[in-house]
Amino acid sequence: MNDLYQTQRAMRAMRKAAIQRGVIAVIDVGSSKVACLILRFDGPSNVSSGEVIGSMAGQSSFRVIGASTTKSRGIRFGEIESMAETERAIRTALQAAQKMALVRVDHVIACFSGGAPRSYGVFGEITTENAVVASHDIGRVLVACDLPDFGENRAVLHAHPINFTLDDRSWMSDPRGHIGQKLSVDLHIMTVKERTILNLNHCMRRCDFELAGVASSAYVSAHSALVEDEQELGAACIDMGGGSTGISVFFKKHLIFADSVRLGGDHVTSDISMGLQIPTAAAERIKTLYGGTMATGMDDREIIETDGSSGDWEHDRRQVSRSELIGIIRPRMEEILEDVRDRLDVAGFDNLPGKQIVLTGGASQIPGIDGLAARILGQHVRLGRPVRVQGLPQAATSPAFSGVVGLALNAANPQDEWWDFEVPQSQLIGRPVRRAVRWFRDNW
């Protein structure tokens, strides 16, 4: 835990330094595409000039000066599978974005969806040293949380303190300066497989970039797709990517649950490819152009030519009706959404006051998905798009970019995490020493 605390703090410091310097890159390493934005931070004076309140209520302290997206390679289920291929894809995206921004960037914040994220709610309690809660008490209570066994080789990706309770008062956002005895905290911890972070870090290093932060794409895409009320009242953001579908549940503006389903749009494509016996590229194209989830009588009469380059004329000139296509797509979409339903049920999503479901991500662009999702997930379903940020190109405003835009927002206004608080060093380092001293005293 100490090691993690130090590395995360180092990344925070790096991010702060990069923002101070003015430019930082954010990159969404997805299964179907790698999207990169380069942000320029001008400081608050430039932004609010001429306006009473800045556009986006101060969220636009940055401006996108470079954007690029490329087809991702070597990534499956949001995890790096082939290092060299992934490095090339990342390099392509970073180079194009830097070329557009005409600036050299050295720091990058990355998000990914894989690594089998698991979320834990943990609880910690201390008695305050004085009657008043001081700022080091926050660090102490965070250290006092009894952590569950995460399993082998898993690392903490996010650790948000979501609720402070002082004696009988709950839902305090900032207990410092309050008078009380018993301080407790609810901490949400999200872990992923450690090697996914290490691989990503290694990849960035090979591209001459310093990793200034990592985030879960389910978490960050909720930042751009959910509106503030939804985050406050309770909502789930379903980020339907190519290789995996991320789920994040927000309540009181904090992430309280995150999970992922290892199914996504690529599985739909491979279903079409297998079902119609056409190449993957052709299947992807047919899915994008003619795909849907609700078959109507009209769709029986709409004939789609299946292209192919197999050389067999008869095979390449087959025709399918759109109903057949929908018949392939729909079961897979239902499967994905049902898996999501299961995860949300496990998390107790039904108990939240607002049961808003927001679908975003590239696979949410398939027509009719909102109707399908409403049947499976509940009535409050809407399609989410990323918020508009300054300088974002029109091409990057589709739902597929909510991850990278959310990462940009998160880079500009990061939420407090566990490692943002000063933890007393004695708690981290002193323990073994104290134990050694005690052992010494006991035995001599």
Partner: protein, 307 residues
């Protein structure tokens, strides 16, 4: 929902079976990626775009100029260009005209500068020319004006000589305020200037002027004035006759002396010196033979009386 429209798929290499399709990696190579990042580095950009060209230019200039023949070649080019401009007809000064100067002064200036013409206005050093002219004692100041048609006109304000002064070095023309203007060889060149002599004569020229005016009745006999002992004047007449004047009221005494001399016909007599240093008691000095004659006459008279 999107209506179905048939859109044919572009197959790679569909135009011909034999056509080789080169599928290149869209990713930049590590080298090109690094080069591009290097190029986007501000310091490096400045170095390549400003510092290196500047250094190269400086280096080339230095290499070129370090050879003597190159420097000479450049100098030659510059001189040639100078020459072309200077020798333009509009810049040629053809003639020299001098205004406001006496003939002698004109000749002097012409003798110095006349040979230069025609000359380009760029080559002529106007300042030193003016300096040389103004260094001439009789020139108060000079103005040089060039005008259309290659004319250089020198306008001179000359100081007029009033007296001729003789000292051990020779004859000099002197202005009214005592400034030595010019050395002359012969008195006969300037016969109309009154001659003065003696040490300190040039310091009291106003007195000399007054004496000359006063001596107008005997001007045809006046040869000059001599300053004696730096304190008083002698009037020298032809035949070596001299009128010695006192220090004070010299002109008045002279007028009195002239009246007296004319009345008594003194100038016609064989007298060497009429001494008016004490105006109450004028004294005469006779020439030696006259004195001898006088003595002879006196002795004859006394012998006559004795007889």
């Amino acid at each position: 929902m999107q209506p179905v429209k048939y859109k044919p798929m572009e197959h790679a290499g569909s135009s011909g079976v034999d056509e080789m399709v080169l599928v290149t990696d869209p990713a930049p190579s590590v080298l090109s990626y690094r080069m591009q990042r290097l190029w986007l580095t501000p310091m490096f950009r400045a170095l390549v775009r400003v510092a290196l060209p500047a250094f190269a230019i400086a280096m080339l200039c230095w290499m070129f100029l370090s050879k003597v023949e190159n420097r000479d070649y450049l100098n030659g080019l510059v001189l040639e260009a100078h020459g072309v401009v200077q020798n333009q007809p509009v810049h040629q000064l053809q003639t020299l005209t001098i205004e406001g100067a006496s003939l002698l002064l004109k000749d002097e200036i012409r003798a110095q500068f006349g040979d230069l013409f025609p000359i380009s206005a760029f080559e002529l050093d106007f300042e030193s020319m003016r300096g040389w002219i103004e260094d001439i004692a009789s020139v108060e100041h000079a103005t040089l004006i060039t005008s259309v048609g290659g004319l250089l006109s020198v306008q001179i304000k000359e100081i007029k000589p009033e007296f001729m002064w003789r000292n051990v070095a020779g004859l000099h023309l002197v202005s009214s305020n005592g400034k030595l203007l010019r050395t002359v060889n012969q008195r006969s060149d300037f016969p109309h200037f009154p001659l003065i002599a003696g040490k300190g004569a040039t310091d009291h020229l106003d007195e000399a002027q007054a004496l000359i005016v006063t001596a107008a009745p005997i001007s045809e006999r006046l040869r000059g004035l001599v300053r004696i002992g730096e304190r008083r004047w002698d009037l020298v007449l032809s035949d070596g006759q001299t009128i010695a004047l006192p220090e004070d009221n010299a002109a008045q005494v002279l007028a009195q002396a002239i009246v007296m001399s004319v009345a008594q016909d003194l100038f016609e007599r064989d007298i060497l010196l009429i001494d008016f240093r004490n105006p109450r008691r004028p004294t005469l000095r006779l020439r030696p033979q006259a004195l001898a004659g006088l003595k002879q006459v006196k002795s004859m008279i006394s012998s006559e009386i004795a007889k």
